[in-house]
Symmetry: C2
Subunit: 132 residues, 2 copies
Amino acid sequence: MSYQISVFAEKCGVNKETIRYYEKKALLKEPNRTDAGYRIYSDDDVKRVKFIKRLQDLGFSLSEICKLLGVVDNDNVRCQGMYEFVSKKEKEIQKQIADLKRTESMLQDLKNRCPDQKAINQCPIIEWLVID
Amino acid sequence: MSYQISVFAEKCGVNKETIRYYEKKALLKEPNRTDAGYRIYSDDDVKRVKFIKRLQDLGFSLSEICKLLGVVDNDNVRCQGMYEFVSKKEKEIQKQIADLKRTESMLQDLKNRCPDQKAINQCPIIEWLVID
DNA sequence: CTTGACCGTGTACTGAGGTACACGGTTTAT
DNA sequence: ATAAACCGTGTACCTCAGTACACGGTCAAG
């Protein structure tokens, strides 16, 4: 029910330095301490770190997550805020996909220009890339 | 036909510090100098920088571009090398697209869970993210 | 009572792709 | 002749998300 930093970090699936880093970045609140100054964590703290990790996997940066946690912690905002947060990120992801697709088709186009084994100094890919 | 670094950088559309950076990273060869030690560049050098920038836009890192330029400069390799380089990057881009699509559908899924304006402490998105 | 495994703080380092100074020499226009 | 506008080198700094040390205190086992 109550853990020191090493066990806690392991339960969260992260390095213990990462825990301290999150604390410094205000993603985790200052934990209670033992008399010797050792940090103590609870199962709720585990949930919080896992929450952070999930959002990271979904493409949110730590500073975005920090803002979001501010909303969640204040508890005085409607679900709407969360919904908008997710929608905004969804749009960003869609833009990234569109950009990558454009890149992909340019690369395909380059490949099509180079069907055989010409000498490198006549390589049509290079010629195309060099044109202003 | 022959430029000092400021004009050259402007013609290339980059910062002049970037030019010096590329030189240090061996993407640009050491340029000729004036008696006072000022770097002098030609239109061919402009082409080279634009070549680099194109490849960057296509998702190549500077170290990949550096390798590629080694091939191009040596001039003793067949076009095949270039073709493989492009193919490899194409696969990487395709993987990135697939990853982003997965993320996108997770975000969509989250949005679907939160159709109305519940209080934040009951927000189904947050509840879902917190579950282990 | 000492050894090893913890914990604390603070600082430096990673990599990618640059940007920004500081300090000093050169060139050009007035 | 002097000030503005260049150029040179070298070093430090930036973001992001951590990781790695170094140095020292604490705690439990043998």
